[in-house]
């Protein structure tokens, strides 16, 4: 068997590779003949009829908001409930409340309360981390801003969970619900927030309600997906065992499914919190209070130091929330497997006494000024800001010549040719190539979806911009994957490298992109490459983490066998570890594409033009609203298309592996 398997793989794979090559060569030949015709161009200020009617629709909705019963009885009620809920949480930790000069709980009380909660849901280590993290943001001089951000994040997450966990359970139990809900979730996650930010303020007014709703639209999907996934992954035997014992559906759910899926559900909550935090800066554009405002304001004067300081506070909050929820999920799993901890009385004791201490701290923070308002003048914050400004200046002057060359080379070698091919080919040729490639590397179902997406992209009126964006997305993904393989293999094989690099990845993922756009602009100017660089910073961490996981997943015995057989390190990596981690690589490509795509709009702010710029301009100018909406839809379509193609390819390569 051992000799037959690779042989068969060799026989199958080149065949597929050859078809792909043939399609690409055919495309090149036809492009040489046909380039420049049927390219569907549309100038920056030009509109199609679709865009105009979307404008009219938007205006009509705005004009009817005082008379329309949907506004009066539906949106207004939602606004009131959401707004009040957010206001209550703000009143507890962030904003002066109940006529007093401070929130209900001052800083000491808040630190104690959050540390106590962390201990209750997880362990004492993350409780210490929570306390430490909150004190750090206080020392940065950003206590109130951080609490505002935390309040908004928490209220968005809590409201999101109220809906998404039941919805996830339903989707976990019913295939039909799952099928209906998946495209909706895709839509919520890939539709750029800029597109619905202005309409949201029309529906829910300017204020915390709109900010919370904008955040929860983007943040809810992971909780739904992972809850459904958790329910689905419960082994069939376990479920049947319960049913054969005569439990009702409700009993199966509460006694078997939910406890088994608890770990995955908590992971979903974790992802939802992270997504909510990543909306902080964008929500600031509609007056959401908190750290995002500090970042946006600082950038008006290109004050990178101040923006970085606030960005760092967001990173600290993100790391605290991430570690606490991850630890909570580990604990949930441990409790399920082994029952309660070894000394339950010790934990209870600590919980009760910690609770009392927390109450005392809250009382203190309501009584004494030193415990109510964070002391000091944010000396740490100004030191961080000064240091960052100096470092940025140095990097900008020292490196901008070299980085300029890198930008020019990559633009000339990768971006320009690919963009020329995609943009100047006739639309039907590009569409045919996409569908053909989907058939070859995926399956017929995915090909049908590709065909529909291509048709809708043409209908959106922004075909050419979509192709420009697609070229940039593909280049960025290639670079992200190259980085992912290099760092993923390194970190997968070397635990020490992993320990050092992982926090940097966390920071790169949660640092608001607005913060590093200014130095990037200095290094790479306002160009397509700057947009790609920003996308790489955001997408590479996820890809690296997935590949590390895949490399680690290769069984140790296989690796040892290969080393024993005399393979060099290079051979072990390329012949054993990477091929066996193939499923992880495909998943990484899929996530890489989606994450890169979610940075398209940010790219529009730094010279990428195309769809990203259309969306930003649509948010800024009433006349371009319809076009911005169409461009947002085009981004969603690109996302769904790329996602389905890579998933189909993953399924196929998964089958190939199982065949072996």
């Amino acid at each position: 068997m051992a000799t037959v398997a690779p042989l068969r793989a060799v026989l199958i794979r080149p065949a597929r590779g050859m078809v792909v090559a043939a399609v690409l060569v055919g495309w090149l030949v036809l492009w040489l003949i046909l380039r420049g015709i049927n390219t569907l161009p549309l100038g920056a200020a030009q509109l199609t009829d679709l865009h105009r009617s979307l404008n009219q629709l938007n205006d009509a909705i705005g004009a009817s908001r005082d008379s329309n019963p949907i506004f009066l009885y539906f949106f207004n009620v939602i606004r009131l409930v959401v707004g009040e809920f957010t206001a209550v949480i703000q009143a507890i930790i962030a904003q002066p409340a109940f006529g007093g000069p401070i929130p209900l709980i001052g800083w000491l009380g808040a630190v104690a309360l959050f540390a106590w909660i962390s201990f209750a849901v997880a362990n004492w280590r993350v409780a210490l981390l929570t306390a430490g993290g909150l004190i750090v943001v206080g020392l940065q001089g950003l206590w109130q801003e951080s609490m505002d951000t935390l309040a908004l994040t928490l209220s968005a997450v809590i409201i999101a969970l109220l809906f998404s966990i039941p919805l996830g359970i339903w989707a976990g139990l019913s295939d039909r619900v799952n099928r209906i809900i998946t495209p909706v979730l895709d839509f919520m996650q890939t539709m750029p927030t800029f597109v619905y930010l202005a309409p949201l303020t029309l529906f829910f007014l300017i204020g915390p309600a709109s900010a919370t709703i904008a955040t929860l639209i983007y943040a809810a999907p992971p909780a739904v997906r992972l809850t459904a996934h958790g329910i689905r992954s419960v082994p069939h035997d376990t479920r049947e065992a319960g049913e054969s014992l005569g439990s009702t559906t409700g009993q199966t759910l509460t006694k078997i499914l939910l406890p088994s899926a608890k770990r995955t559900i908590v992971l979903g909550i974790n992802q939802t919190i992270m997504a909510a935090l990543s909306m902080v800066t964008i929500a600031a554009l509609i007056d959401a209070p908190g750290l995002g405002k500090t970042v946006v304001k600082a950038l008006q004067t290109l004050d990178v130091g101040t923006a970085f300081n606030a960005g760092l506070a967001i990173v600290v909050l993100a790391i605290v929330l991430d570690r606490v929820t991850t630890a909570a999920s580990v604990r949930a799993e441990a409790v399920r497997r082994h029952g309660p901890a070894r000394w339950p009385w010790l934990r209870t004791t600590l919980l009760v006494s910690g609770g009392v201490a927390t109450l005392v701290a809250i009382w203190l923070s309501r009584t004494y000024v030193w415990a109510a308002e964070f002391p000091g003048d944010g000396g740490l914050g100004s030191a961080i800001a000064k240091g960052t400004t100096a470092a940025t200046l140095w990097v900008q002057t020292a490196l901008s010549t070299i980085t300029g060359v890198i930008k020019d080379v990559i633009t000339a070698v990768l971006i320009e040719p690919l963009q020329a091919l995609l943009v100047t080919s006739p639309w039907w040729l590009v569409g045919a190539v996409i569908v053909a490639l989907t058939v070859v590397i995926g399956n017929m179902r995915a090909a049908a979806i590709s065909a529909i997406c291509v048709a809708l992209l043409v209908a959106s009126g922004v075909w050419q911009d979509a192709m420009t964006t697609l070229a940039m997305v593909l280049v960025a993904t290639v670079i992200v994957m190259a980085l992912g393989v290099v760092f993923g293999v390194w970190m997968g094989r070397n635990r020490r490298a992993d320990r050092v690099i992982r926090p940097l990845l966390d920071a790169a993922q949660t640092m608001p992109s607005f913060v590093y756009l200014v130095p990037f602009l200095a290094l790479f100017a306002a160009t397509r490459f700057t947009a790609i660089a920003a996308a790489i910073v955001f997408a590479a961490p996820v890809v690296i983490k997935i590949i590390v996981d895949g490399v680690r997943g290769v069984s140790a015995t296989t690796v040892e066998a290969s080393i024993a057989a005399g393979s060099s390190t290079w051979q072990t990596i390329t012949k054993v570890q990477l091929p066996m981690a193939r499923e992880a690589l495909t998943l990484a490509t899929n996530q890489g594409l989606i994450y890169v795509l979610s940075m398209v709009v940010v790219g529009g702010l730094v010279g990428a033009g195309a769809l990203g710029y259309d969306v930003v301009a649509g948010f800024s100018q009433g006349e371009l609203y319809g076009k911005g909406l169409a461009a947002g839809l085009a981004i969603v379509l690109l996302g769904i298309m790329l996602d389905r193609i890579t998933q189909a390819a993953a399924t196929r390569s998964g089958q190939a592996i199982h065949h072996r």
Partner: protein, 327 residues
Amino acid sequence: MAPRMIGTCSVVRWTCIAAAAALALAGCGGAKVGDTGGATSSGGSCGNVNIAVNPWVGYEANAAVVGYVLQNKVNCKVTKKDLKEEVSWQGFGTGEVDAVLENWGHPDLTKKYIEDQKTGVDAGSTGVKGVIGWFVPPWMAQQYPDITDWHNLNKYAPMFKTSESGDKGQLLDGDPSYVTNDEALVKNLNLNFKVVQGGSETALIQAFKQAEEKKTPLIAYFYTPQWLFSELKLVQVHLPPYTEGCDANPEKVACDYPPYDLNKVVSKRFADANGPAYKLIKNFRWTNEDQNQVARSIAEDKMPPDAAAKKWVDANPDKVNAWLPAP
């Protein structure tokens, strides 16, 4: 049973320890919350005023000074909301925004909210004159004095080539908040340039800073008053002069941008109430130089807007008194 007993005991003990610690802490004391008291409640006769703050420093200077005067001299409560233009104007109808304090033309918004929906009202000029156009960094104007005449742009076009503009010169466009005629201008003036979308004000400012520092060529869409000018005296390139109506057809534009008389826009409701806050905003009028002073304090000296406003107000009592509504 035994462990449980121990457990109960230690719960009590820990509670005692915690309580003792708390009492000790409390004993340390310190100033009590609310002691400072005396925080002047700025409720007063004028009520609450919602001011939109659009995202550029010049606007922030207007908002800072108007807000400061309203709060301290007219006794209003001021709520500032950080919003983009479109969202601010939307707020007139929903009652969430009372005033926009620096409007750059925006014929689209004017039509939608003042003419059609009738939720906004023009509240007169701010006295600040806005200029939109094409600018080059100072070093270029020095080295190539004739570059400020558009006739010579084609001569210099190769110099402006970048990775984004192919074989043409690059004209960097910026802030998506403004309607630009640049694509039409390039075409109608037969310029060998390609318009590249910078996408944000940040991108433009950074581009100018880099260009001056490294003495690299750059021509870009920009505007004044803008805080950057206090650091970098950008030089405007003269296009064919603007005449009334020369920009009527956006496709055929071949002339410079019109001069802008920056004005204030307020919600209809706010204007009709005709309270002291509205009167002050209507009277508010200053000069480019005044605005630049405050903007410089905010952008360069990193003063909080309120402090920057106070500094200017204290130095210019006559101007401020002229705005105050008659008692």
